[in-house]
């Protein structure tokens, strides 16, 4: 996880100290690069010969990171009123909670579909 963010950070470092005016532009471009890089790593990850659970966890972490970057920067939650964040997270948390519960329910042994 640290590798990509480092790469991106150094990548954009040279231009970082511009005036306030263009700083957002810089941030956006850097984040876009970061997202692209993470996506690349994710694709590579899948083919690595590690334990399945490690990879799944890594993938989940990576996509969560991407997710957070997009909502906090591209969707400027970071700069907006906290209320917007709360609002969105109500939906997000409920959706992921329900999803997790559903997956758990269907994975329970008692719920397995009939063998065909």
């Amino acid at each position: 996880m640290s590798a990509p963010s480092h790469a991106a950070a150094t990548d954009g470092h040279g231009h970082d100290d511009h005036g306030h005016e263009s700083s957002k532009f810089q941030i956006y471009v850097q984040i876009a690069m970061l997202l692209a890089v993470i996506t690349g790593i994710e694709i590579v990850c899948v083919y690595l010969p590690f334990n399945k659970w490690i990879i799944v966890t890594t993938l989940v972490v990576f996509s969560t990171v991407k997710f957070m970057f997009v909502i906090f920067y591209f969707m400027h939650l970071r700069w907006d009123k906290l209320f917007c964040t709360i609002l969105f997270f109500i939906g997000l948390v409920l959706a992921s909670g329900t999803m997790a519960a559903l997956l758990a329910l269907f994975s329970a042994e008692a719920s397995l579909p009939l063998p065909t």
């Binding site: 306030h20 005016e21 957002k24 532009f25 956006y28 471009v29 984040i31 876009a32 997202l35 692209a36 996506t39 690349g40 994710e42 694709i43 990850c45 899948v46 083919y47 399945k52 990879i55 799944v56 993938l59 989940v60 990576f62 996509s63 991407k66 997710f67 997009v70 909502i71 920067y73 591209f74 969707m75 970071r78 700069w79 907006d80 009123k81 209320f83 917007c84 609002l87 969105f88 997270f89 109500i90 939906g91 997000l92 409920l94 959706a95 992921s96 329900t98 999803m99 559903l102 997956l103 269907f106 994975s107 397995l112 579909p113 063998p115 065909t116």
Partner: protein, 283 residues
């Protein structure tokens, strides 16, 4: 922490006319997105549940999906998100021209994404023999990605309307028909170029050599190429020529911004789909 625009009159992070300072449209959009999370939550749950319990003898996604294409379209969608973000900053600074360019690029990327999806669906149905009804995989896959695709398509339409609206001049009688024509031409041009691109890919894939591929392509798609060129010409030299002061200013930043929120959301949904639907299959 607000970004400082040139004119101090409009503060894009505070709307004094509302109780919270958050503009109504933005609040509406965030609430809607919270709701949309539940939509996609339900769809993705359905897909994953059926992936966890595939019926015996079902299709194997590993041999159907093509990671290259999906990675490419994922990348494109990410870039469109970047362009969207830039469009919003541009209009917040009152820079209509730059905003237009960013919007146009966003539309363009969005169309490429849609094109990839059309291609993918086509490919899956006709080459890989996975249809909506012959397997549970096809059922959930097409419904999930198709719903996402619909979101993208709506986004593209919205973007196109916004782009055209940015040309709406303050004083003109015929602006309505002008706008309608402009929208139609824009979407037409995009659809035509989509058709042409698909034709090119198809020709290059099916013909034995590159030369033959191009030959076949030009022969088959001649009319569409010509039409596309005409449409782009119209767009560039007729519709986009300056015709006086436009109504579209910083005041409209909130419109672009809430549209942007929608677009980014479609992007993050894809981030999840990319991981959950595609990548996890390769483990």
């Amino acid at each position: 922490m607000s970004s400082h625009s040139a004119s101090a009159a409009i503060d894009h992070h505070h709307d004094p006319s509302t109780s919270t300072g958050i503009p109504n449209k933005k609040l509406l959009m965030w609430t809607f997105l919270a709701s949309d999370c539940m939509f996609f939550g339900a769809l993705i749950s359905t897909h994953l549940i059926y992936r966890l319990h595939p019926p015996a003898g079902g299709l194997e996604p590993k041999i159907i999906f093509s990671p290259e294409l999906t990675s490419f379209s994922t990348f494109i969608l990410l870039m469109s998100s970047l362009m969207m973000a830039l469009a919003v900053t541009a209009i917040q600074k009152g820079n209509v021209k730059s905003c237009r360019w960013s919007l146009l690029t966003t539309i363009f990327f969005g169309m490429i994404f849609l094109g990839c999806q059309v291609y993918e669906f086509n490919h899956f149905v006709f080459e890989k023999k996975m249809t909506l009804s012959n397997s549970i995989l096809g059922t959930t896959f097409y419904t999930l990605t198709g719903t996402h695709g619909c979101h993208v398509a709506i986004g593209v339409l919205w973007l196109a309307l916004m782009y055209v609206r940015s040309f709406k001049v303050s004083v003109e009688k015929s602006w309505f028909s002008h706008q309608l024509l402009h929208t139609v031409t824009l979407l037409g041009a995009l659809l035509l170029s989509l058709k042409v691109t698909l034709g090119l890919v198809h020709a290059l894939q099916t013909e034995p050599s590159i030369g033959a591929g191009f030959g076949h392509f030009f022969a088959a798609e001649f009319i569409f190429i010509a039409l596309a060129l005409v449409a782009f010409g119209l767009l560039a030299f007729f519709f986009a020529r300056p015709r006086g002061p436009v109504q579209f200013t910083e005041v409209n930043a909130i419109d672009v911004e809430s549209m942007g929120l929608y677009w980014h959301f479609v992007d993050i949904v894809w981030i999840v789909i990319f991981t959950a639907v595609y990548l996890l299959e390769y483990l």
